[in-house]
């Protein structure tokens, strides 16, 4: 028997078998890498398509690494009264769960939401300057030590009663974290109300998720715009961010802690916000 020849035939047969097995097992990843390389081309195509549908993108399309680490969020609670001391000073009383000082009060709703209110706002509810209100709100947060790196200004809006609402949201490591906020109401030159629901501990897990490419997300925005009667064309997308958002279902009532899902968030010049699920199945 010619062993040398048999070996050669067996080597060829095994090479072929292994190639087939390798392709079956890891073929999709090879494809994925090709997708990644084609991303730029895809993006140009999608932007062209959006333009033809009267949707323009004026923001830079992010080129972040498309992998997001899983995190676990826990809402801050206020049992230790530290925050209440910061807002009301040393002299306050607790009457039926409501903390009162001589000129302000604090209530805690559902253990998670803190509501601070001035009892007798100076001059009442008056017409307030929108541009100044944001500064006043920021200064207030500074003065009570709540203006840290995870606080990002979201919106400033004039209310029907003339006061101005200034909203801040949470950002962690460059990713937005929804379902948390600080809403301040500014009247004249002072903050008359603060509502705060904020994530305290953020636990970083050792798993991560591949995120849908910006091109695909932009493509999906189109169907969201079609399905939303409130959004009128032409649409200008002025921001596009990646971040986390807690998802809900009819079985969820009021989270205290949980693992959020990755989302793309688009904001139009008209102020509409569109969320696109960013995790690929």
């Amino acid at each position: 028997m010619d062993w040398s020849r048999t070996k050669t035939i067996l080597i060829i047969a095994l090479l072929l078998t292994n190639s087939v097995l390798f392709f079956v097992l890891y073929g999709d990843r090879i494809g994925a890498r090709t997708d990644y390389e084609n991303n730029q081309n895809q993006l140009t195509e999608v932007l062209k398509l959006l333009e033809s549908e009267q949707v323009t993108v004026t923001t830079d399309v992010p080129t972040q690494d498309l992998v997001m680490t899983d995190i676990r969020l826990t809402y801050e609670t206020y049992e230790d009264e530290t925050m209440i001391q910061i807002l009301l000073g040393e002299n306050f009383t607790n009457i039926d769960g409501q903390y009162l000082s001589k000129d302000a009060g604090v209530r805690i709703l559902e253990t998670q939401e803190l509501v601070y209110q001035l009892l007798n706002p100076l001059g009442g509810y008056v017409e307030t300057d929108v541009d100044q209100a944001t500064e006043i709100a920021k200064n207030f947060l500074d003065s009570v030590g709540l203006q840290y790196s995870s606080v990002a200004h979201w919106v400033t809006e004039q209310q029907d009663d003339g006061t101005v609402l200034v909203e801040f949201r949470q950002i962690e490591d460059g990713y937005f974290v929804e379902n948390a906020y600080m809403k301040l109401i500014v009247s004249n030159t002072s903050v008359i109300e603060l509502r705060r629901k904020w994530f305290g501990a953020i636990e970083v897990q050792d798993t991560s998720k591949i995120v849908e490419s910006p091109a695909k997300a932009l493509f999906r925005v189109l169907s969201e715009i079609d399905g939303n009667t409130d959004i009128q064309r032409p649409v200008e997308i002025e921001s596009m961010d990646l971040g986390y958002r807690l998802i809900s279902n009819i079985l969820t009532i009021n989270f205290q802690e949980g693992e959020p899902m990755p989302y793309w968030r688009f904001r139009t010049a008209q102020g509409d916000v569109i969320y696109i699920e960013a995790q690929t199945e």
């Binding site: 080597i11 095994l14 807690l246 009021n254 205290q256 693992e259």
Partner: protein, 488 residues
């Protein structure tokens, strides 16, 4: 020679690589299969539907106007014997074609005789009974629905079916039924603790109601009472346990091995919620031990139609998968509607007993221990709140149990005002208090000893459950305190 050695080395390496890759492939395939297997588990197993077809109550008449109603071991023997007779009666086409109508007088005469009356958990026609007995149903959609089955010793060659609401009664002719039923009645008579009378006989309603003769109230009313133990129970799920492996195992059942897409949440009340993907599927394990599962079906999806028998099978599959079925589990009610997508939507509700008594759980939205909602063969919602028996105890501070009569006296104001608020305006003005009470008694449809589980409590309190017209009450057995009133 070196060349040959190199070839041999390459050959060995390629062979090892081939084995590794094949192993990897097999592993991937088996994971996929396991995921599917978990989902398919509920469908592959076949259950005996007969086991969840049980009466809501057994009313045994010893003749001479004396009755009892209980759920002892003896009753299950009685019901099993009756099921066998029903199967043989309902299998014969000849019997079915001879279903004859009887008048109310004959029905009353029979229920007063030495007999057993099974109050069905919901109104069902003969083909639904056939399905619940596991036999091929005869298609007859418009058939009369019944709420009770009667077997009287006065007629051993027939089984009777009645609908008290419509006052329609029927006799199904068949072979002489087994003596086992007679023996059971005798045994129950010797062990009876609570005596009942027919509401009609007890209160003489026909004489008291001045209006023209109305339908008789054939429900039975207990005239004595008995001490019943309190029962400590444990919920099936403990979300506060430090070890979450039990919770994880429920999540594994719901989502298979694909835990990569599952998010774990905790509510303010400590309930744990697992969400799959973007909440297409969710599992909630409540602080009160409730298990809830929901699965979204994309709008416009057309699913395969299924029969009632399949719906019961699928429901039992899920009940089995999430903690198993208690032996006393029975189907309490079901409904089927066709939605805008042309899909059949089934809702099936189940209840169970502890120590032979039904459980009323406070705060259950559906009022039933298990609720399964199906769209065709797709499970859309599943909820289950079942507690396990731990031990029983008695409190010496309660020397005796109250009779339902005493309970009625203590709560007469509430019952009367509820009844009056349900009367139409002109009806209420004309009636005296005595007339209102005659009507209240006329409308008593059911009195039963049950257990009541209050929210956040770990024991069952024995109660009198009383149904009057569209209202249902639960009163504590030992002090008569009203725990729950509900209007359908």
């Amino acid at each position: 020679m070196n060349r040959e050695m190199f070839k041999s080395a390459t050959l060995v390496s390629l062979f090892i690589l081939c084995i590794v890759l094949t192993g990897q492939l097999m592993l991937n395939l088996s994971t996929d299969r396991q995921d599917n297997a978990v989902q398919a588990l509920s469908i592959n197993k076949t259950f005996d539907i007969k086991e969840v077809f049980g009466p809501q109550s057994f009313i045994i008449s010893f003749g001479g106007g004396i009755y009892t109603q209980n759920y002892t071991e003896e009753n299950s023997t009685l019901w099993e014997a009756t099921q066998l007779e029903l199967i043989s009666y309902l299998l014969s086409q000849e019997n079915l074609s001879n279903l004859e109508s009887i008048d109310e007088m004959r029905w009353v005469e029979l229920i007063k005789s030495r007999a057993v009356r099974f109050r069905l958990p919901f109104n069902m026609n003969l083909s639904e009974m056939q399905i619940m007995l596991g036999i091929e149903p005869n298609e007859d959609e418009n058939a009369v629905k019944f709420n009770s089955i009667l077997i009287s010793t006065h007629d051993q060659e027939g089984i009777y079916f009645g609908n008290d609401e419509e006052a329609s009664y029927y006799r199904l002719n068949g072979d002489k039924w087994s003596n086992e039923i007679l023996t059971s009645i005798n045994r129950i008579e010797s062990n009876t603790q609570i005596e009942y009378r027919r509401v009609e006989d007890l209160f003489g309603l026909q004489d008291a109601l001045s209006e023209e003769k109305t339908q008789e109230n054939n429900s039975i009313f207990p005239i004595t009472s008995m001490r019943v133990d309190f029962v400590n129970v444990i919920p099936e799920v403990d979300v506060r346990a430090s070890d979450d492996s039990a919770l994880r195992s429920y999540a594994n059942k719901a989502f298979g091995k694909q835990f990569n897409f599952v998010k774990k949440m905790r509510d303010v009340d400590q309930s744990v919620v697992y969400l799959y993907g973007y909440a297409n599927k969710a599992l909630r394990l409540g602080t009160d031990g409730t298990i809830e599962l929901t699965q979204r079906l994309s709008p416009g999806t057309k699913v395969e139609s299924i029969s009632l028998s399949d719906a019961v099978q699928i429901s039992l599959g899920y009940i089995d998968q999430y903690g198993g079925a208690p032996s006393s589990l029975y189907l309490t009610d079901y409904s089927m509607v066709t939605d805008e997508d042309g899909n059949q939507r089934y809702t099936l509700e189940f209840d169970y007993r502890i120590q032979d008594m039904t459980i009323i759980t406070e705060g259950l939205e559906s009022g039933h221990s298990v609720k399964v909602e199906l769209i065709g063969d797709h499970l859309s919602n599943f909820s289950r709140s079942i507690h396990k028996f731990k031990d029983s105890f008695m409190l010496d501070i309660y020397p005796r149990a109250l009779t339902i009569n005493e309970v009625l006296e203590r709560n007469s104001k509430v019952i009367q005002s509820d009844y009056e608020s349900n009367l139409s305006l002109d009806e209420g003005v004309e009636l005296t208090e005595a007339e209102i009470w005659t009507r209240i008694l006329r409308d008593i449809s059911h009195v039963e000893l049950s257990y009541y589980l209050e929210q956040d409590k770990k024991y069952l309190y024995p109660v009198w459950k009383l149904d009057i017209g569209s209202s249902s009450y639960a009163f504590r057995l030992y002090d008569g305190r009203l725990l729950r009133s509900r209007t359908k």
